[in-house]
């Protein structure tokens, strides 16, 4: 009896329990929400892109004209700088020494010229004058001696020889006077003009050399090219700074009162983009922060995609169209930050 009716009863109970168990063990299919809200589509028809926040002036990687050893860094990251303000200076000891040398050359040339310009020396005039006066007196004396002998009527009373000698003495005295007068005049005339010109040219040359050294010195002082903020300062005293384009800029600066965002649009999606399109940017990490973006311009040349991980060895064979958008004035963004963009796409096409 028990077996007869027990078996069906057992079967019923067993099946019910099995159904219960199966139902309990069947996992509930639930559509979970992402732990953090992802950036969502902002327009029905849109182009997705990644954007990099940058300064409105674009980010300027400050370079220097000559490589050299850094001796002083006058700014730090975050500083606001005016155009022309010193950023950092390079070692200038050799040029300073050279400058000192060149400056002495200028001084020397200048004093040489001064000396030439100052001649005749006033003290030299009186002796020359005296020599003229003396020559005059000697000439007068010789003339007197000649007259005395010529006054003798009787030629026998005098030696013909004496007469001749005295005549020659007068001539000689005349010549000496002329010489003394000429000497005096030469002295009074001062320096010869061409000599002065030479000296002046020498001075100018020396001065030009000083100016060149000063220009070289000023090139060792790296200054801010625009008003802006220092975004990155990767230069420290004691380091050797290379000139030219560097993978890691020495100083990165830009005008940050207005931020732009550079969107990379895949070349395959470029046809869907139209200049002037509306766009929305969503901040990574908090997709609920959305900024409306204003179209600025398209960079018309489609460039190979630069990987935003910043690793230059990575090669990606995609090319991207870069489009610049303007961010609102007040944002919680920093230059260099990435954003997910939704750009409204053309209606036509697909």
């Amino acid at each position: 009896m028990l077996l007869k009716y027990g078996m069906p009863a057992l079967a019923v109970v067993a099946v019910s329990l099995s159904l219960l168990s199966v139902q309990r063990m069947t996992p509930k299919v639930v559509q979970a929400q992402p732990p953090l809200p992802p950036p969502t589509a902002a327009y029905a028809n849109q182009v997705g892109a990644v954007g990099l926040v940058e300064a409105a002036s674009e980010n300027i990687a400050v370079s220097l004209p000559v490589p050299g050893l850094v001796t002083r860094v006058a700014v730090k990251a975050g500083d606001a700088v005016r155009k022309g303000q010193l950023l950092f200076s390079l070692d200038d000891r050799d040029l300073r020494a050279e400058l000192a040398l060149r400056e002495t050359t200028v001084a020397l040339s200048r004093s040489k010229l001064g000396k030439l310009e100052a001649s005749p020396r006033p003290e030299e005039i009186p002796p020359a004058q005296f020599r003229v006066d003396e020559a005059k007196a000697l000439r007068e004396d010789a003339k007197v001696q000649l007259r005395l002998i010529e006054a003798v009527k009787d030629s026998r009373a005098i030696k013909q020889e004496d007469l001749l000698r005295r005549r020659r003495a007068v001539e000689s005295a005349e010549a000496r006077l002329e010489q003394a007068t000429a000497n005096l005049q030469l002295l009074k005339a001062g320096t010869w003009k061409p000599d002065l010109e030479v000296a002046r040219a020498e001075l100018r040359q020396a001065e030009a050399q000083v100016a060149r050294i000063q220009a070289d010195l000023s090139r060792l002082q790296v200054t801010a090219p625009i008003d802006g903020q220092i975004l990155q300062c990767k230069v420290r005293p004691g380091e050797f700074a290379q000139s030219g384009t560097l993978a890691q800029p020495l100083i990165l600066m830009g005008r940050v009162d207005q931020l732009h965002i550079r969107a990379d649009i895949d070349e395959k999606d470029a046809w869907r983009f139209h200049p002037g399109a509306k766009a929305t940017g969503q901040v990574r990490g908090n997709a609920s922060i959305r900024y409306p973006l204003e179209f600025v311009r398209v960079e018309p040349y489609v460039v190979p995609k630069r990987n935003l991980t910043g690793d230059s060895t990575e090669r990606v064979d995609t090319r991207v169209l870069q489009v610049l958008f303007k961010l609102p004035a007040q944002t919680s963004l920093y230059p260099g930050q990435q954003m997910d963009l939704s750009i409204e796409a053309k209606k036509e096409g697909r």
Binding site: M7, P8, A11, V22, V30, P34, T40, G48, D264, K305
Partner: protein, 379 residues
């Protein structure tokens, strides 16, 4: 008449029980083996099923299944985002790496890199710790089975470190994830961390996970993504099935299980059929008597069928409950996680069992129909 049939059936207790247990064990064998097979096969799609927040997977157009991927370019993510009907799309890294425990024991691990800012794909069942701590550098969440492998017989604690491809990573959370097919430990980390751990490759993004907007069906969106980007897009369900089919086609597992199931079917049919046949033969006298008093053949067929259905139902009920009990008993065993009795298997086995009993009764019915009522009185 029904009462007579019932009395005939239960009259001989040994045969009654014999019939029931033949069917019960055949049911158990079939449903159990098919369940294990389904459980094993569904493990191949574990990593797909574990992503509960995205419905669409986008991958390279030639991808065959989830474990072998060709990475997409980073830009493909933005192309998917540009497809109409995509509410959101995030990257996913799925790869393998080798991890070494503190005692030097190493193992290949499945490394899942989840989008840094949204963590889409994160398992929701956290055993210990806080998955938000994954935002710290060099951190991972590990599945509990992986934890047991690296730190056997130790209580689950946080902050332990594992060497992952020359990176020392800290465990900040222990999570429950579905068992992978090859039963490797599963590590969850951020996308950017994952690509650092595995080292440099040209492209790293394995998949793009997307969610359709409310006004479009996932299947329709997969078509749109395919058309717009040329990439392959599948719903989680389709991708899971594609992966399962890949394994079914390319491994010996289905043959192996198929043989077992077929044997269960044959043994069940033969044993139940034979027992039932013998039971009918032994009752031929009674059937003959019934025939003699004018019971129609149809009535007798009805009686035999009724007996068959009763035996089948009881046997099935006992057999299927054995299978259910097995999975109920093993549900907390981590190595058998994911194995369960599917409702479809319950239905399918029921169908198979009733096929068996009908087949068995059909053979018996023939003997009763051709029976001459006079035979009864001759002996």
């Amino acid at each position: 008449m029904k009462f007579i049939a019932w009395q005939m059936l239960t009259g001989d207790k040994a045969k009654y029980l014999g019939l029931i247990f033949a069917i019960a064990f055949s049911t158990f064998l079939m449903s159990h083996q098919v369940s294990i097979f389904c459980g094993l096969m569904s493990r191949t799609a574990s990593q797909i099923d574990d992503v509960k927040d995205a419905q669409i997977w986008v991958m390279d157009s030639k991808t065959q299944y989830v474990d072998e991927v060709k990475a997409l370019t980073d830009q493909d993510l933005y192309r998917v985002r540009g497809v109409e009907g995509v509410e959101w799309a995030v990257p996913l890294f799925k790869g393998t790496s080798r991890a070494k425990g503190p005692d030097g024991k190493f193992r290949g691990v499945i490394l899942m890199g989840l989008d840094d800012s949204t963590m889409v794909g994160l398992p929701r069942t956290v055993v210990l710790g806080d998955t938000r701590a994954l935002s710290d550098p060099e951190t991972i969440a590990i599945d509990q089975v992986g934890y047991k492998f690296f730190f056997p017989n130790e209580p689950v604690t946080l902050g332990r470190t594992i060497d992952l491809n020359d990176h020392t990573v800290r465990i900040v959370a222990v999570v429950a994830s579905s068992a992978p097919f090859v039963n490797l430990p599963v590590f969850y980390t951020r996308y950017s961390q994952a690509i650092q751990f595995v080292g440099r490759e040209r492209n790293q993004m394995s998949f793009v996970l997307a969610k359709p907007t409310p006004d479009i069906s996932p299947v329709k969106l997969t078509q749109q993504i395919r058309e717009a980007t040329g990439l392959k897009a599948l719903t989680s369900n389709d991708f899971g099935w594609e992966t399962i089919w890949y394994y079914i086609k390319n491994t010996g597992i289905p043959i192996n299980f198929g043989i077992t199931v077929v044997i269960a079917l044959i043994v069940g049919t033969v044993v139940a059929g034979q027992t039932f046949y013998l039971f009918t033969i032994e009752n031929l006298k009674q059937f003959g008597a019934l025939k003699a008093i004018g019971v129609t053949d149809l009535r007798i067929v009805g009686m035999i069928l009724m007996q068959a259905v009763i035996v089948g139902a009881i046997g099935y009920g006992l057999g299927i409950s054995m299978t259910a009990a097995f999975f109920e008993a093993t549900k907390d065993n981590l190595d058998l996680r994911g194995f369960r009795l599917l409702p479809q298997i319950m239905q399918g086995t029921a169908l198979a069992v009733f096929m068996i009993v009908f087949l068995a009764s059909a053979v018996s019915v023939r003997r009763v129909i051709v029976l001459e009522p006079a035979v009864v009185f001759r002996g």
